[in-house]
């Protein structure tokens, strides 16, 4: 682990009592390598390390710990605070609220829609799942199957290609029925497909959802910055959901996305079943990324 590696590097500057420009070089290089290997974006790592260096220089080191341990602690704390944005709870109190899920193809939006629905149900909130992916083969059937598994309401318009029309009708129906949570699943799309990104923007403009959740795959590499930058510019994201965290990806994308968007990661997906869903813990994520 990083901490163990640092014991070695700092054996020779133990008892020096202060972090200096000279003794900080090696540990910063080591951590930089660890972050890049964990898929944190290159530019994010560069800026992050620069600010860590600034914070660490001149810091006094107690003789009970090594400077290496002190630096790693500073880095860990900085990572935790970076990913620990303002409290990002998903509202389980208000009468009615709507949520829309967006992201790249295959990131886990449809499955996550089901998990959110199940989460609301556990909190005694009736939900409606809206199938607004009018492109992918059997997308409506996929969400319908999931809705039946959860026991939630389901809405779509079979031959309608315009998601805005489906969503408008869904909202009207949900409010008439007194349903408390409207969850809109959208088609996966590339951040560079302008027309499709505009379509999402117009969905947001129409629905005015309380949550616009960017669903991202934890295995995403360097491209995470490009992707979330575009989604964050076409839309007003309210939060992030990181999926496939049950894999063994280090998940550096979490740090890249938090750094780039400033938005909170609210939940993580930890499996394919409806219950495989838990709150995001920045401290656990920081340890996982550092390795």
């Amino acid at each position: 682990s990083i901490s163990e590696r640092f014991q070695g590097i700092f054996k020779d500057i133990r008892g020096m009592g202060k972090i200096t420009d000279k003794n900080i070089q090696e540990p910063l290089r080591e951590v930089r390598k660890a972050l890049l290997e964990a898929d944190v974006n290159y530019k994010v790592v560069k800026k992050f390390m620069a600010s860590v260096k600034e914070k660490s220089l001149g810091e006094k080191v107690l003789t009970s710990i090594t400077p290496g341990q002190k630096i790693v602690k500073i880095i860990y704390d900085e990572m935790v605070s970076l990913m620990d944005q303002e409290k990002g709870e998903i509202d389980i109190k208000s009468g009615f609220s709507s949520l829309m899920l967006v992201g790249l193809q295959g990131s886990g939006k449809t499955t996550t829609a089901g998990k959110l629905s199940s989460y609301f149900k556990k909190n005694d909130l009736s939900t409606m799942l809206v199938a607004a992916d009018t492109k992918r083969l059997a997308a409506r059937q996929q969400l319908k199957t999931i809705a039946d598994q959860v026991g939630s309401d389901f809405f779509t318009i079979e031959d309608e290609v315009n998601p805005v029309l489906i969503i408008n009708a869904a909202k009207e129906t949900a409010q008439k029925k007194g349903i408390r949570r409207l969850i809109v699943d959208t088609a996966g799309r590339l951040h560079v497909e302008n027309e499709l990104m505009e379509e999402l923007a117009s969905i947001q403009k129409n629905l005015i959802p309380d949550e616009v959740l960017f669903v991202a795959d934890a295995t995403t590499g360097q491209d995470a910055v490009n992707i979330c930058k575009e989604f964050n510019s076409f839309l007003t994201l309210s939060g992030i959901i990181l999926t496939k965290m049950d894999g063994d990806a280090r998940g550096g994308a979490a740090m890249s996305i938090a750094y780039t968007t400033g938005k909170t990661i609210k939940f993580v997906g930890i499996g394919e079943k409806l219950g495989d869903f838990e709150p995001f813990y920045p401290d656990r994520m920081a340890s996982r990324i550092l390795g």
């Binding site: 890049l36 193809q105 992918r136 083969l137 059937q141 969400l143 590499g221 496939k244 894999g247 063994d248």
Partner: protein
């Protein structure tokens, strides 16, 4: 990547940045950069074309020289699509079917994802679009037994290719990797081992974990080839260079869109050029 400075250390840092941002990985990027540095040190004068060409040649040396064709035999070839959840297996299977049909091959599909919601409906719709038969069973039924029946049916109907769709799975799920081994065992019992093409489908946006995925699938069931999907985005897919270099598995095709036509043969030269842009 065009060096912008007259200070070569600064240029090399920019090149390192571009390589790492392509998901090439730290170790390979440093290795490649060292080779470039020592080649440039031998030059009296360095111009941008030199750097571009040298960089390209160094990277190409890390790619394989092997065949990138799908297996072709006189008897049934089974192509099985495997990989992590959501990477594009089902879509890539449909694209592969179209390619084969366009080469006048007789093709049949098998719906061996019996788990995920609407997986069977999804591949059935592809079958309709392609006008090919899809062998399927009930949700929850044993994937290996569907494969068994599908191979019998494909042989009986004199098919050239049977394409098998499998459920997405994480390589660190012991149970799911055991299920995959069982499917492969069944296939190997029914056709010559050399007639089975195991295609690993890798999402082009994946970072370093892509290497670990390929390694795990390779150690578990063996992989004959890789298809990298979603390269129509901005990800460069650099992790495949590490995969080819260290695991010796060739990338055969790349996915560049969601339609059935969006599958093209992997071209190392184009790939490296796109990476260095």
């Amino acid at each position: 990547i065009l060096p912008t400075s007259t200070d070569w250390e600064e240029n090399l840092e920019q090149i390192e940045e571009a390589l790492i941002e392509s998901d090439l990985g730290v170790d390979l990027s440093m290795n490649v950069l060292e080779k470039l540095r020592s080649q440039l040190n031998l030059l009296k004068e360095i111009n941008n074309d030199d750097v571009f060409n040298k960089m390209g040649n160094i990277l190409k040396k890390h790619l394989l020289n092997s065949s990138r064709e799908l297996k072709e035999k006189d008897s049934l070839v089974v192509v099985i699509f495997i990989g992590i959840n959501g990477t594009g297996k089902t879509t890539t299977l449909a694209k592969t079917a179209l390619n084969l049909l366009n080469s006048n091959k007789k093709v049949m599909l098998a719906a061996c994802d019996t788990f995920r919601a609407a997986a069977i409906e999804q591949i059935s719709l592809w079958g309709e679009k392609l006008n090919v038969n899809v062998i399927k069973g009930n949700y929850g039924s044993d994937a290996a037994s569907i494969a068994f029946d599908a191979i019998d049916s494909a042989k009986a109907k004199n098919m050239d290719y049977l394409l098998i769709d499998t459920a997405g799975r994480l390589h660190n799920s012991k149970e799911l990797m055991e299920e995959l081994k069982k499917i492969i065992r069944i296939c190997n019992n029914k056709i010559p081992v050399d007639n089975l093409e195991k295609l690993f489908i890798l999402d082009g946006t994946t970072g370093q974990n892509g290497f670990h995925q390929a390694k795990a699938f390779s150690e578990s069931v063996g992989i004959n080839g890789i298809v990298v999907t979603k390269l129509d985005g901005t990800a460069k897919g650099g992790i495949v260079i590490a995969i080819e270099d260290q695991l010796q598995i060739p990338v055969k095709y790349i996915g560049v869109g969601e339609e059935m036509e969006d599958l093209i043969p992997f071209n190392p030269d184009y790939f490296i050029d796109a990476m260095l842009k």
